[in-house]
């Protein structure tokens, strides 16, 4: 089962008007794999993961998630979104709902499970991101790091097969980055399949099976973290790593 393919992107092309955001992207993600996507801003890494749950439509190529081919049909989009969890840079918690309600809504509405069952699941995952005691609070009453952990728990409540992280620590104050990364590391250790857009290279070293470098909408190179950081093949990768590692 280790080799089961969860995500398969083939020849994906994406344009915003005349601007090409993704150029001929091929990517295969197997069950249990942890992938870190990095690259300069505007390189298409966020766009790439947003195509996987169809927050963005693609113009050419194909994306298959857990055996379901993403096309324009609402049914396909539905099935895929139930299998794919996402965590955003800006948390995007629902401000008018408590932490618990944030976590219960989707299982009740999209999975159609009962309230009591949804609450049990929500409390379990809130406990798992170590925020169970804040369940009755509103998002605005929590710190950024706590909010992001709630967002992770909210996504987990749908019991997804894959988790997408779109720069989950970029909007956080430095002292809160660690608590979110620790949560993600815990998730990785439990065997979750993950694709993370992040500049946290320490996280990449520790967790990633593969690090992928993108520039100008293309995958420039990919490799195991050891080789990727020690011996990058492309000049563009070396330049990027030089720039971001200088700050760390």
């Amino acid at each position: 089962m280790q080799d089961q393919i969860l995500i398969e992107m083939k020849g994906v092309q994406k344009w915003y008007g005349g601007y090409q955001a993704l150029r001929d992207v091929d990517l295969i993600v197997r069950k249990g794999e942890k992938i870190v996507l990095c690259g300069p801003s505007g390189s298409g890494k966020s766009t790439l993961i947003r195509c996987i749950n169809r927050l963005e439509a693609i113009q050419q190529g194909s994306i298959v998630v857990n055996g379901h081919r993403l096309d324009d049909s609402i049914k396909a989009i539905d099935v895929v979104r139930q299998d794919v969890g996402m965590v955003f840079q800006s948390f995007n918690l629902f401000p008018h709902m408590t932490v618990l309600q944030n976590c219960m809504l989707a299982p009740i509405r999209a999975r159609r499970i009962s309230k009591s069952e949804a609450e049990a699941i929500a409390r379990k995952y809130l406990e798992r991101v170590r925020i169970g005691d804040q369940a009755e609070k509103y998002p605005a009453q929590l710190s950024g790091g706590q909010q992001q952990r709630v967002a992770i728990a909210r996504a987990l409540c749908m019991q997804p097969k894959v988790m997408l992280f779109d720069e989950p620590t970029s909007a956080l104050d430095p002292e809160m980055v660690k608590e979110v990364l620790d949560t993600m590391i815990g998730l990785a250790n439990d065997g979750m399949t993950m694709i993370c857009v992040t500049h946290e290279m320490g996280f990449a070293r520790q967790v990633a099976d593969r690090v992928i470098f993108m520039a100008e909408g293309q995958i420039i190179e990919a490799g195991a973290p050891d080789a990727f950081f020690r011996n990058p093949q492309h000049a563009r990768t070396r330049q990027f790593l030089g720039e971001i590692l200088a700050h760390h």
């Binding site: 927050l55 539905d78 979104r81 969890g85 955003f88 629902f94 809504l105 989707a106 999209a110 749908m158």
Partner: protein
């Protein structure tokens, strides 16, 4: 001998006030219902539908309410549909309110951060749940000051219904004033009645606005 402004005249004004309030409630409830539909169609993402709603809003915002009332009351009568004055003005005000409220709420829906919709989509929530559970509760909060402001305009605007012979508060005042020759007193009382209706709403609206501004700073 001309009657003086006394209890019977005051009672007549009160009955006018009742009609004003009833017309306001009917127009507001009807306008809210139809306005919600207008706002949802205006933001549905389908180009053609959005254009049609835009034209609908444009027509009712771009022509005088008086004219719209004439069309409903006299125009429909010409086609053989003779409406009671109250029904006619209720329809006229409802349609007009739906355009204005629809536009207010269109703005409020679009003011809810895009990330809210994206998070809801990523969680697999459908359009109906996204709107009902996520976007509208936040949009209504955002739009509350403007919606209350419109309600105040509507209360005062119902005086236009007098033009097709409907006796609401302003028209009642005119009748009493003509009978008693005490226009200052009569219209003073009429004005006070409008004020008592409108001022608390205005106050509430500006308080909501201040609260929202405070919440926005956090």
């Amino acid at each position: 001998m001309t009657p003086h402004f006394g209890l019977p005249e005051f009672g007549f004004l009160l009955r006018g006030l009742q009609w004003t309030m009833l017309l306001t409630v009917v127009a507001f409830v009807g306008g809210c219902t139809a306005g919600l539909a207008v706002a949802l169609l205006r933001t549905c993402g389908h180009k053609g539908v959005e254009w049609i709603t835009r034209i609908y809003i444009g027509i009712f915002q771009g022509t005088p309410l008086l004219l719209q009332l004439f069309v409903v009351y006299y125009g429909l009568a010409l086609t053989g549909l003779k409406l009671d004055a109250f029904v006619a003005v209720a329809i006229g005000f409802t349609v007009n309110a739906s355009a204005f409220l629809g536009e207010i709420w269109r703005g409020a829906i679009q003011a809810v951060p895009r990330g809210q919709t994206e998070a809801a989509m990523a969680l697999g929530l459908h359009y109906s749940s996204r709107m009902r559970d996520i976007v509208l509760p936040q949009a209504i909060r955002i739009s509350l000051p403007a919606t209350i402001g419109y309600l105040v305009q509507l209360i005062k605007g119902t005086s236009l219904a007098a033009i097709v012979g409907f006796i609401e508060l302003a028209r009642a005042g005119q009748i009493v004033s003509n009978q008693t020759f005490q226009p200052l007193l009569v219209f003073g009382v009429v004005g006070a009645m409008y004020f008592i209706l409108c001022w608390p709403l205005s106050w509430w609206g500006s308080r909501m606005e201040a609260r929202l501004a405070l919440a926005g700073q956090r």
